[in-house]
Symmetry: C2
Subunit: 296 residues, 2 copies
DNA sequence: GGGTTCGATAGGGAAAACCGATCATGCTCG
DNA sequence: CGAGCATGATCGGTTTTCCCTATCGAACCC
């Protein structure tokens, strides 16, 4: 039954029987049989399908929530028992929004020093993906924006607030200033993240509030590309302070604070809400509180 | 895995492999193998045992809580899916303290009228047993004292407050009075419930507070015995109002309120805490609120 | 010290789980 | 409009797991 629920969760995640099957390390016929068996056991159809995956039925939606809770609790049981044997050990997978990668590294370094037997995996993902990755057990925790997320099913620990820096060459006209407003960037040549990334959308909102329509001449989903363009051409970009500091190190680039110090998005750790947490997660949340900029 | 957890819960409840096995409808060797397999899977010993059940290990205690949560959620998943198919139907088992049996009947009658397809089972049990019966799924809900119970893992709905009545023959000396104090009963011939029942302990507390040491000449664990003795001999007894009213009907007996109207124990419905509740339980809790004496 | 209770172990038969191969359907693209 | 492809269901056979009966050995109880 438990394995059937895992199958169900996998299919709901992948929206595809074949992919879900390889993800589970079983064959597709086995998976099909498992789902059918689960449906028989519960007496309701869970998945619409005729020659192709067709989404969850309403009952399926409902059952999915229970399945996640049950499977999650079962994993936690195992995790907790392993903790009793081996102490803090095992793997910890964390999905991180790209602009928080430097902070994530800071956290993971600190955590690894304290708990050397825990192997950590940091994955860069869009903030829109992170919550669902937590929900269906693709990762154990995430680092993302805390402000606009549904807070119900997650535990959170704030890490820092995003402050934006304008990055330009040292010989650029702006380089002399020690602070610029969003409106000052009207008409400037900017290279920015692609609009599918939340960081870009946040920056867009700032521009909008300042009555400026940003003209991004170069777009990329990689912060490295942005900085490289700034360095090579006469472009400028806007990045969170830490990321900017990290990428600019040793290069002839200037960082200038943008906008006023207020109203910045909070970035923090997001973990599945569960009472109590696994030992590792508890340790991670504790560590996040310690490393955090925010006195909370 | 889920069935192994059920086995584990059963053994923890029965504290005996053989009994647990028959309760589960399997043989003892199967059960033994199941437990061992669960222990292997979790990598920890759960139960002390050498030729005989020896209690849970600390890890076992911990695992038991998770097992209950997981199995409970799994049952709820099934229950919810069945509800989606058939509406409110199935079985509802309720454990009731003896002195609340008349109230339980009132509740069950009302509930059955509204939801005729739900079969109800009412079991008389001591209040000390009821919570653990709920925890290990022997019953779906209970009716018991709400005041001194750990409230954390249970949902409750108050039904009524216990008011005590002195019951005596119409020709007894006390019969004329319209109210008596606990101290007035000093030295009187009383027949009461046995001291292992919480109702008796509550009455004892009242006596103690009034500086009276009760002399119960006849004790029984059956309220019927108490009333029969009052009717036949020159005994008196003390019972909750509703139960007294029910048992005295049509007999030449008097009921006289005992003590002042304050500080009486609250009796109510107790259900396993779960978010959300099963449809049946939700309906039952609603019904309890409707039938209740207490305007809450 | 014989009888009893309780859980572990051994062995065999039934059930199931799983896989590879194949089929049926619906979609895409030339 | 037809060939090719993608996707999930179905089938047959093999392997694994499950569960029962029978039995054993230790602890317990007069």
């Amino acid at each position: 039954m438990l394995d059937k629920l895992e199958m169900f969760i996998a299919v709901a995640r992948e929206e595809h029987f074949g992919r879900a099957a390889v993800g589970l390390g079983i064959t597709q016929p086995t998976l099909s049989a498992g789902i059918k068996q689960l449906e028989d056991q519960l007496g309701v159809q869970l998945i619409f399908r005729g020659s192709r995956y067709g989404g969850l039925t309403p009952e399926g939606q409902n059952a999915l929530e229970w399945a996640r809770r049950i499977v999650g609790d079962a994993r936690q049981l195992k995790e907790e028992m392993r903790f009793k044997r081996h102490g803090l050990a095992g793997q910890l997978r964390i999905a991180v929004i790209p602009t928080a990668l430097t902070w994530a590294a800071k956290l993971s370094a600190q955590f690894s020093r304290k708990h050397p037997r825990v192997r950590m995996t940091l994955l860069s993902h869009a903030s829109s993906e992170i919550l669902s990755m937590i929900e269906d057990f693709s990762v154990d925790a995430g680092i993302s924006y805390l402000d606009n997320e549904p807070v119900g099913k997650f535990s959170t620990a704030p890490l820092y607030r995003e402050h934006y820096m304008l990055v330009c060459r040292s010989d650029a006209p702006m380089a002399a200033r020690d602070r610029v407003g969003w409106h000052d960037l009207d008409g400037e040549k900017l290279c920015l993240l692609t609009p599918d990334m939340q960081n870009r959308r946040i920056i867009n909102q700032h521009f909008l509030a300042a009555g400026v329509t940003p003209r991004a001449g170069i777009e990329s989903n990689s912060t490295v590309v942005l900085i490289a363009n700034v360095e090579d051409g006469d472009w400028m970009t806007v990045l969170p302070a830490d990321m900017a500091r990290f990428l600019c190190a040793g290069k002839p680039l200037c960082m200038i604070p943008v906008g006023d110090a207020e109203a910045h998005k909070t970035v923090g750790l997001v973990a599945p809400w569960r009472e109590p947490h696994t030992p590792v997660l508890k340790a991670l949340l504790t560590e996040a509180g310690r490393v955090s900029d925010l006195s909370r």
